[in-house]
Amino acid sequence: MKKSFLWAGGQWLFVLLLLASRSIVPVYAQSPSDANFLATLGELRNATFDDKDKIVDRLAQSGHPSVRAVLTAFLEDRLYFRNRDQKIFFVKPGEEGASTLDLIDPLTLKSAGSGSADDFTKILTNNHLRRVLQTTLARFGLSSPDASVRLDAVRDMEKDLDEGNVQLLRERSSVETDSAVKEELATSLALVALNGSEAQTRLSAISILRYSLRQDVLNKLQALLEKSPDGSFVESDEHVRQAAAAAVKSITRRRSVYSGIQTVFFGLSLGSVLVLIAIGLAITFGVMGVINMAHGELMMLGAYATYVVQVAMPGYIGTSLLVAIPVAFVVSALTGILIERTIIRFLYGRPLETLLATFGVSLILQQLVRSIFTALNRSVQEPSWMSGTLQLNEALSITYNRLYIVIFTVLVFAALLVVLKHTRMGLAIRAVSQNRAMAKAMGIRSEWVDAMTFGLGSGIAGIAGVALSQLTNVNPNLGQSYIIDSFLVVVFGGVGNLWGAMVGGMLMGVVDELLEPYSGAVLAKIFVLVALILFIQTRPRGLFPPTGRASESQ
């Protein structure tokens, strides 16, 4: 899995503090004087970004022991100079916006006391500079004991294959042991070899590259086949062209297969969101026949619960998300029960009235949240284990948060099935939904069951909210943007049927994503809606027609 330096930065510093005392593989052997290191460093204070670029280069060449620490700090926006005496320091990571800075001396790398942020000026970087810093620092990475760090290093150096880098890569490839890194090195060296003068070298390069899936490799090969303005081929040699053509063909074929897989996954992940927002409704609406317009707001509450939990336990983002799940469930469930006890229980058997009342409730809940948290978006952070992508290969990568949401949906769904099928409560719920009078007669406290059922549905809405907080805005309108879809899913699947919601949601998701590349987002959505309308004509009770009376009572 590729991790950008911004994340790795933390570990970096530690790796480095260990190494700092011992010898670091020098880039070019020469013993530098601290004095001219500091002098060079000093030039950064008021240089333009272009100059900074050159300065960084000179620093790197100086081979000073603390170069790596300083440049890493620079990359991570931690390089300052003191306004008073223009002296340069860098600070410990994770102190952005702190009022006092814990200073570290750029030479000794030892703590140099602390000072107020106002007395210091940050030395700024920009994208270009950070790119330079990354490739520069990558060179150090090449010799890291950690294979994954080496891999990242190679990948970063590829982005700028100048003489120096190529040289270093060659050296590395001779001693490299890790297979993944070896392969990466081979590919990048082959890419270089494509520009080689010998047709033979180019051919052998292609024979390596043809097994790659990388887009840039593909581009490079395709470039060989293009004609230059004067009509002659860019690639003079006939054989090389054929080889390239073959390679391009096989790469594109394999890539298209993977992109197909990816689209389907996109569909499933979109679908699982639809399922998640719908199953809660499948219970309140399907089983109880309550058209709960406040369902969206219950999800919103779940999302806000996530936010509050996260604020309550700073520094434990990952854990807080897990904690948030039960919390959100409880919050939304209690709210749901409150709504049920105070309003809905007077309206059973009158689904359309419940629609009106709960619409009122949704207005109130929105305003409530607006009054408490303001209308602004709330930032719910993403735990590190949820961000990033699972790189299955160069052509197919799956983002973790989507993957987790698919898994999460399946888990929630399974749990719900268990509750309904294998617990007393579930039994009671089904009994009441199928024949209230009979259930009463058998001594089931239907009042209690109603409350619990509605609570359950609402609670699941809350859980959906937790997932949504990872995908989209957490603000008072969160619910509004999902309520319609959730109703459509339930109706499409068949009111009162959990499996219906599952299959229906996934189906809608996949179809939508399959269409999108051709029709664009809006038309895809419209198509799905129209298809759904037509489908209901042929099966007026959805994919899995309901068995209970819930859907007929009006």
Binding site: K2, S4, L6, F49, D77, E96, G97, L124, T125, N126, N127, H128, R130, Q134, Q215, D216, N219, K220, A223, Q262, F266, S269, L270, Q366, Q367, R370, T374, A375, L376, N377, R378, S379, V380, Q381, E382, S387, G388, T389, S397, T399, N401, R402, Q470, L471, T472, N473, V474, N475, P476, N477, Q480, S481, D512, E513, E516, P517, G520, A521, V522, K525
Partner: protein
């Protein structure tokens, strides 16, 4: 019995609404505030409502205006465009406000425009917008395309060396116009058509998986690629989250946005966005005495030291100060006189330089380009030399070439220099 009482309660509630409170005391100057406090736009507009209230409170501390206190009349158009027109009419005709500060989206402005021109009101519009408009009754204190989009693209082309462009926007008039202008501009700079990809997504679009991977693909063609984003409000958070998750870093494919500022960033975790760009006329991080003071004042007023400031807030601030100056100059709040007094007036920007009202009812603004940094603020990586005058009509759009707006000499917002005609005006 309980029922009976509740029924009566219901009836009373109903009757209660039938009597609306109308005319109030007249010894104050009424200032209308027309920003959505509910609905989808509340996210952005509530802040501006608070800013206006803050400015009014400040002014009253200084003893008000023309010896009268200012009285804010706040209404909620609820992100509902027809309601904007209705509320504007209410403010102008029932409350007889001297001036209105309001609107965010272009459609809300378009919807109130006829009202302001009919009742000859005065609107200060504080948001960057697509141009192609200049009304006698509106002062545009936000950026016109030439004060935001063009410089940003210039920066990417020259400083970053971008060769390939994705113009990604929400499907409404601001992105469409901006992209139209940018496309014309890029082509004029010799960018090949196949190196420009324009795409639009609906409002509140949240499933960016496919789009982002498409951008990734477009960006992997070997040329340096950048995304120029005119994506609106709600859709941004999921967009940036997806960028982060698919690990498109700003070093690979930078995104420059025109509607993502400090406040939008406060709604998401900035770490994955470090280095992403935004072009504005104001950044909270810009260190000037005026800005420091403004930020402190804001924190005190909103009672939250963490609340950010942003560009439209500065635009509101400038708008308010300009109006105050104009009223003092005219010695009355009469709209005709105030409008006449406005062109040429100057007030300091929060980030240095002066905001000057131009004859086309736009103002001069400095342009900054910032990179997102870890604390959700922006590092300014480029600033315009001096201020840039706002252009109502873009020189890059063929149909606008000869059109000028001038309310001082030509008394027209849409004057064609060739045909010498003044078209599309509503006022008599």
């Amino acid at each position: 019995m309980k029922y009976k009482e509740m029924r009566i309660a219901g009836l009373l509630l109903a009757i209660g609404m039938v009597f609306s409170g109308m005319a109030k005391a007249q010894d104050t100057i009424k200032v209308g505030i027309l920003h959505s406090l509910s609905g989808t736009m509340a996210i952005s507009e509530t802040t501006l409502k608070d800013t206006d209230l803050m400015m009014i409170a400040e002014q009253n501390k200084k003893g008000g205006l023309l010896g009268k206190k200012l009285e804010a009349v706040v209404v909620d158009p609820a992100s509902d465009w027809p309601l904007f027109a209705e509320k504007a009419q209410e403010l102008l005709e029932n409350d007889k406000v001297a001036v209105v500060f309001g609107c965010w989206t272009s459609v809300s402005r378009k919807s109130v425009l006829p009202v302001f021109e009919k009742d000859n009101g005065l609107l200060f519009y504080p948001v960057q917008y697509e141009g192609e408009e200049s009304s006698k009754n509106v002062i545009y204190t936000g950026a016109a395309p030439n004060q935001q989009a063009i410089p940003a693209v210039d920066y990417l082309m020259t400083e970053v060396g971008v060769k390939r462009w994705v113009l990604e926007g929400t499907d409404y008039v601001y992105p469409r116009t901006t992209n139209k202008i940018l496309e014309a501009y890029l082509l004029s700079k010799g960018v090949k058509p196949e190196d420009i990809s324009i795409n639009y997504t609906p409002f509140g679009y949240s499933d960016w998986q496919a789009r982002v991977s498409a951008i990734k693909k477009f960006g992997s063609a070997g040329k340096k690629t950048a995304v120029v984003s005119t994506i609106n409000g709600d859709a941004n958070v999921p967009f940036y989250k997806e960028l982060g998750n698919q690990q498109i870093s700003a070093e690979d494919i930078p995104v420059v946005a025109f509607s993502v500022g400090e406040e939008e960033l406060s709604g998401l975790d900035p770490k994955p966005l470090i280095g992403e760009l935004a072009a504005w006329n104001y950044f909270e991080s810009i260190n000037t005495p005026e800005n420091k003071a403004f930020i402190q004042q804001w924190h005190a007023f909103i009672k939250n030291p963490k609340r950010t400031t942003n560009d439209p807030m500065e635009a509101s601030y400038i708008g308010f100060n300009l109006w105050v100056k104009a009223v003092q100059k005219a010695g009355t709040t009469d709209t005709e006189k105030v409008i006449a007094a406005l062109p040429g007036l100057e007030t300091p920007n929060l980030t240095g330089g002066m905001a000057k009202v131009l004859p086309n009812h736009h103002i001069t603004k400095p342009v900054y380009i910032g990179e997102v940094r870890a604390d959700g603020q922006f590092n300014v990586v480029w600033k315009s030399s001096g201020t840039i005058p706002g252009e109502a009509w873009s020189r890059y759009v063929p149909s606008d070439k000869n059109v000028v707006a001038d309310w001082v000499t030509l008394k027209c917002g849409n004057y064609n220099k060739e045909t010498k005609k003044c078209s599309g005006q509503n006022y008599k």
